[in-house]
């Protein structure tokens, strides 16, 4: 797969604060790429530079093979951005907002009406077209934000913490739409999120800490490298003493082992104790904690 985004030795300082330090990574075409980090880790700074909205100190950014220093106009046509907060005009209606934003890409008249119809069906907002954006609920407004980002059919969809504060139903709807689009259009999705379960579905994850890459890889690779496995033994009441940490649960006991091989070895050595059990890999939260020493969940890092 070809690289659709290439970032090389990117640096950006705000006064004495080094927001991004020697950042280099690649995103492959059609990939679901997740960018993880606590607030202030440098995620939004990187996105702002990628979109040509912020001056970088040094480094190179290539999008779709184009140098962002020279072809930001062309790059802008290939990128759709859903910002952390809705940046649509709250006093204007959904239709008026989308009309003005579509015109930025030269989409007007019948082309606008056709695309509006497609997106309003896809994101289920046909009944909201004549309502002021400021009067919509958070979930409804997010759907319009996504429609705005998708209006010009971008090759790359950048989602900057898109589901923060949304109800589970709207989150599910948004991910269903994005999954469907990825399958039908080969669109690349670049996500920053605080929800670890969203990152767990990514093809590739970069964890950012204090402006530097702390770890990167596929979720499986990261879990294998930075977390162990958990064996949950149901129906057990007695504590296990196999030399691994255990935790007593309501339905049984959970044993933390370094990896799947260790789990297999333990089960084979003590088959009488493992009658009703399951093995699961560590979660992305555990990876994040192991890599950065910080907990991250739902926007509240500790």
């Amino acid at each position: 797969m070809e690289n659709i985004i290439e970032i090389e030795h990117l640096n950006k300082c705000f006064g004495s604060v080094k927001a991004v330090q020697d950042l280099s990574f690649r995103v492959k075409k059609g990939e679901f790429f997740a960018f993880l980090g606590v607030n202030g880790a440098g995620k939004s700074t990187t996105i702002s530079i990628l979109c040509g909205q912020l001056e970088k100190d040094s480094g190179k950014v290539y999008v779709c093979g184009k140098d962002a220093d020279r072809a930001i106009g062309e790059i802008a046509r290939k990128i759709g951005v859903v910002f952390q907060n809705s940046l649509l005009d709250r006093p204007l209606t959904v239709r008026q907002n989308l009309q003005s934003r579509a015109a930025l890409y030269g989409i007007t008249g019948k082309r606008f009406e056709r695309r509006l119809e497609e997106l309003s069906k896809l994101l289920d907002f046909s009944d909201l077209l004549n309502r002021a954006v400021g009067k919509l609920s958070g979930g409804q407004r997010r759907r319009i934000d996504i429609a705005r980002a998708l209006f010009h059919q971008p090759e790359i969809l950048i989602l900057d913490e898109p589901t923060t504060g949304l109800d589970p139903q709207t989150r599910k709807l948004l991910w269903n739409v994005i999954d469907a689009l990825r399958q039908t259009t080969d669109m690349t999705v670049f996500l920053t999120t605080h929800y670890m379960e969203e990152a767990a579905d990514a093809d590739y994850v970069v964890i950012l800490d204090s402006g530097k890459i702390a770890a990167e890889g596929t979720p499986l690779d990261l879990k294998n490298r930075f977390t162990g496995d958990y064996i949950t033994v149901y129906g057990e009441r007695e504590a296990f003493d196999f030399g691994y940490p255990t935790q007593t649960l309501r339905e049984g006991v959970r044993v933390c082992v370094p990896n799947t091989a260790a789990a297999t070895e333990l089960i084979l050595a003590h088959p009488e104790r493992f009658v009703d059990y399951e093995i699961v890999k560590g979660k992305m939260d555990d990876v994040f904690l192991a890599v950065t020493g910080k907990q991250l969940s739902g926007g509240n890092e500790k």
């Binding site: 979109c51 040509g52 909205q53 912020l54 001056e55 970088k56 962002a68 220093d69 930001i72 106009g73 062309e74 802008a76 046509r77 990128i79 951005v81 910002f83 907060n85 940046l87 649509l88 005009d89 709250r90 006093p91 204007l92 008026q96 009309q99 003005s100 934003r101 579509a102 015109a103 930025l104 890409y105 030269g106 007007t108 008249g109 705005r148």
Partner: protein
């Protein structure tokens, strides 16, 4: 072109959705007109009469028309600029709300964006300033009407040019502001000071020679003089036809800045228009340049 049209339409919609801002802009010249007529008309009239040579008979309506012409020319000269500063707030609002990021993440040219802000702001300000002009003409017709159709057309042109000047100037200054509070502070300073430096509150001829030279470098001075010339042309013609000595009329014209000079050279009406239109083009060009430079800086 479609992009420019849609962006301008969006900017105008945003302006008219804020009904408080629209009506406060609209009511400002009305309040000024009432205040001028209530408190200043008598002062101006007494001052005008005391400056006339003894024994010169003059119709009451001609005096009233002269005073009213001077008052409303001052009002329009100030309003066109101060209202532009009050209504040209969308660019700052877009920065405060973050909408500017949503606009600039697109491939739209910064010059298109800048022109759309300028055009929408000029259009919304023109609605208010032409309303002020209409009210002023109604007031003038009550006090004494000596204007020809051409005078009215010229005054309308003056208001147009002054409004564009105010919009271009406010756009350049507002480009550097990020909050409505900052814009409000700038608007207050401009409202308080502009009337003095453009010769609206007090004729520049009343100032010292040094200050007159300094003020002759400011384009707004010529804008005020244009409105005043066209508002009072009919009055001066009437004075001439009823036997006012030419020296008296020249004296009045000079005392209320109808005749301006730049380092001893008399400035013609054509030159005044050239200064004003040149200033509009210059400031509008600088405003567009600011946007382009900001874009280049961001991607450097």
């Amino acid at each position: 072109m479609n992009t420019f049209f849609q962006l301008t339409r969006r900017n105008l919609r945003m302006f008219f959705k804020d009904k408080g801002m629209f009506f406060s802009s609209l009511i400002t010249p009305v309040i000024l007109l009432v205040l001028y007529a209530t408190f200043l008309a008598k002062v101006y009239k007494d001052s005008f009469l005391s400056a006339l040579p003894d024994g010169l008979a003059i119709e009451e309506s001609l005096i009233d028309a002269t005073v009213a012409g001077q008052l409303i020319s001052s009002l329009l000269a100030v309003s066109c600029v101060t209202i532009a500063f009050c209504s040209n707030l969308l660019m700052i609002g877009d920065k405060a709300s973050g909408a500017i990021r949503d606009l600039t993440v697109s491939p739209v040219k910064r010059s298109t964006l800048a022109f759309s802000y300028f055009t929408a702001s000029a259009a919304s300000t023109l609605i208010v300033t032409f309303t002020a002009l209409a009210l002023s003409l109604v007031y003038l017709s009550v006090q004494g009407w000596y204007l020809s159709f051409l005078d009215v057309v010229c005054v309308a042109l003056d208001v147009l040019v002054l409004t564009l000047f105010g919009t271009a100037l406010s756009s350049c200054i507002h480009f550097f502001l990020n909050t409505n509070g900052q814009a409000s502070a700038v608007g207050t300073i401009v409202s308080a000071g502009y009337g003095f430096i453009c010769g609206a509150y007090m004729p520049i001829s009343n100032f010292g020679a040094g200050l007159q030279k300094v003020l002759s470098f400011l384009p707004g001075t010529y804008g005020t003089s244009l409105v005043r010339n066209h508002m009072l042309r009919g009055v001066f013609a009437q004075m001439g036809s009823v036997g006012f000595p030419e020296e008296v009329i020249s004296g009045i014209r000079a005392s209320i800045d109808c005749d301006l000079s730049f380092f001893g050279h008399q400035i013609s009406i054509g030159a005044m228009y050239a200064v004003m239109i040149g200033s509009v083009l210059l400031f509008a060009g600088i405003f567009v340049l600011f946007h382009i430079v900001a874009r280049r800086k961001a991607i450097r």
